[in-house]
């Protein structure tokens, strides 16, 4: 102890202390970061990874490069995680049909097994968000309060692009946020976790897995319960509602006017 107190005024003491502080912070940060992504890290077999690599080389490497290191035509996939592959390939967005403002959803090009193998290969290249655990997708048991909470999280974080009724909406220069009806729980979760294309990432520190489950519960609830006010006209707001009232409403007014002023037979 004495030796330590004698050396505390040593010129190198400040630097040593600084180094110690940095090491502790860095260590804690690493622990915290891995804690964020530790969940649902499915273990893939070596044969899955090998099969996935074959599929990747044949179907994806043209744009994403050998070893998924990226080219001018496609980003590097190192560290994007299995969730990203499962979303992009599982919804048919990848492989890309043609370049455009954004990748379009289309019929799936790969079987579930092939998708899992591709995910396994990309996940083996670097740690990233994994495929979500079943427990965070099973929203049936949620209380009404939790679903309402999910609605609040949705309105704060998602509704500006995806529309308050999750009907989707336009972005800049031909891009758009898709409607969320008929999207599977797993794909909704993966989209939040990985931020596909222009969607921002909502990592587990921002929206916890439990909160993501509540959001999914809310989306599935509004999808199944329908609109409280009857016909929702696509939930697109003033555009479709305005068109309806200008055509049907004014049409009725004109019809009544014609009838009012016509002679009775």
């Amino acid at each position: 102890m004495k030796a330590l107190s004698q050396r505390r005024r040593h010129p190198m003491a400040a630097i040593a202390l600084l180094l110690l502080g940095l090491l502790v912070t860095g260590g804690l940060y690493a622990v915290a970061s891995t804690a964020n992504e530790a969940k649902a890290e499915t273990t893939y077999s070596a044969s899955d990874i090998a099969e996935g690599e074959k599929l990747f080389v044949a179907n994806c490497a043209t744009c994403h490069g050998m070893g998924a290191s990226g080219t001018d035509d496609g980003p590097s996939l190192v560290g994007v995680g299995a969730a990203s592959v499962d979303f992009q390939v599982g919804t048919g967005r990848m492989p890309l049909q043609m370049s455009g403002p954004q990748a379009m959803e289309k019929p799936n090009q790969f079987t579930e097994e092939q998708t899992a193998q591709l995910s396994a290969y990309v996940a083996s290249l670097g740690a990233g968000p994994g495929i979500p655990d079943e427990e965070y997708l099973e929203h049936e048991g949620l209380e009404a309060e939790e679903i309402a909470e999910g609605g609040e999280i949705f309105r704060v974080n998602c509704a500006m692009c995806h529309n308050a009724a999750a009907a989707g909406g336009a972005l800049t220069r031909g891009k758009f946020a898709p409607g969320l009806a008929d999207v599977s729980e797993k794909h909704i979760y993966e989209a939040m976790a990985t931020g596909p294309q222009n969607m921002p990432v909502f990592n587990d520190a921002n929206i916890t897995p439990e909160d993501k489950k509540k959001v999914i519960g809310f989306l599935k609830t509004i999808e199944s319960q329908g609109s409280p006010g009857g016909a929702d006209l696509g939930s697109l707001g003033p555009v479709s509602e305005g068109l309806f009232i200008w055509v049907a409403g004014l049409g009725a007014v004109i019809g009544f006017t014609v009838w009012l002023t016509s002679r009775s037979s």
Binding site: Q225, P228, G230
Partner: protein, 341 residues
């Protein structure tokens, strides 16, 4: 002169007046011959029309009854289905209650009430004698009140009438106070932590991974006295991108932290929340009028009607790793206002 005569039989060419010429050009066609309606001539048609009117009124009665049925007897349970049914019956009931009466009365007037044509001639707009009468009445009133002869009454009346509107000033004053400098300040201040909207939990810098977007409120907002007023000014969008992609201008290099930047979410056009963040193009889009802000150019307007960039909130990290504000915004947030200068 002779071309004014219009070739009328009595036109002499020298005494033609404009009035006569017009009378010949526009002959009053008179009323068309009166055509009796079916209900006027056929007693069976009359009875039928009577029944139709009565049926329309009964439709209205049924509509009102349907409204009350839905109001009192459709029990609302936890599902939205019963609410939808109730809404539907309430709406249809009210619509038929009103339409039944309206359509019934019009149908009654059109088929059964007399429909003979009446021509009413226009009477003179103002006659000179009426005007003189009115003038005399005003004169008489002034004379009888004696206001000219009784200055005490006149002056006290003038005083009362000058004072009477003054309470209005006090009442309109209560619409205030004037905003003063409240539009120039928000809840943000040095070392106020950035917290998540809506639950108010603080955000660590390490939580914000590249590509993330956080919707942020100042710490303590949920407990603030005028929560919504404060929120309307203080909401912030927090984003992280590669630090190389940010191009901070001089003096603003340290307003972000490691590529994490915070910008006001209130559009500088008319104040909608600008929160449509595209993480690849780094564009922020306002959903109301499509103003587009470029995050890599300090939220400069690159499209749309907004004219000023979004104000940036200077942020840093405190000892515990939480994101905190360095200060309040350096300019008023949101749309322009008169005194903004």
């Amino acid at each position: 002169m002779s071309d004014h005569s219009n070739g009328g039989p009595h036109a002499s060419g020298t005494v033609t007046t404009a009035g006569q010429g017009e009378a010949e050009k526009f002959r009053d066609p008179g009323l068309p011959p009166h055509r009796p309606r079916l209900a006027d001539v056929d007693p069976r048609a009359e009875k039928r029309a009577e029944r139709q009117v009565a049926i329309l009124f009964v439709v209205s009665i049924i509509g009102t009854l349907a409204f009350f049925y839905a109001y009192f007897f459709i029990e609302l349970d936890q599902t939205i289905g019963t609410l939808r049914l109730q809404n539907l019956v309430l709406g249809l009931g009210t619509a038929f209650a009103m339409l039944g009466i309206g359509v019934g009365i019009v149908h009654w007037a059109k088929t059964l009430m007399p429909d003979h044509e009446v021509a009413e001639s226009r009477h003179e707009i103002r006659s000179e004698s009426d005007r003189q009468d009115a003038e005399k009445i005003v004169g008489d009133i002034i004379e009888e009140t004696g206001i000219k002869r009784r200055p005490l009454i006149r002056n006290s009346l003038i005083g009362a009438m000058l004072l009477a509107p003054l309470p209005a000033i006090a009442i309109f004053r209560d619409l205030g106070p004037l905003p003063g400098d409240t539009l120039r300040h928000t809840m943000w201040d040095t070392d106020v932590r950035l917290t998540r909207d809506p639950d108010g939990t603080p955000i660590k810098a390490s939580d914000v991974t590249i590509g993330s977007a956080f919707h942020v409120i100042p710490e303590g907002l949920n407990e603030a006295e005028h929560k919504l007023e404060e929120k309307a000014k203080a909401v912030v969008l927090l984003m992280r991108l590669n630090p190389e992609e940010l191009n901070p201008s001089e003096g603003r290099e340290d307003w972000g932290y490691n590529g994490i930047v915070a910008y006001s979410k209130i559009c500088t056009h008319v104040g909608c929340p600008v929160a449509l963040y595209e993480q690849q193009t780094h564009h922020l889009l306002c959903p109301c009028h499509q103003s587009t802000f470029d995050l890599t150019q300090e939220c400069k307007v690159i499209f749309g009607p907004a004219v000023r960039p979004l104000p940036q909130l200077p942020i840093t990290v405190n000892d515990e790793g939480y994101l905190v504000a360095r200060s309040d915004f350096h300019e008023p947030v949101g749309p322009s206002f008169w005194e903004r200068g």
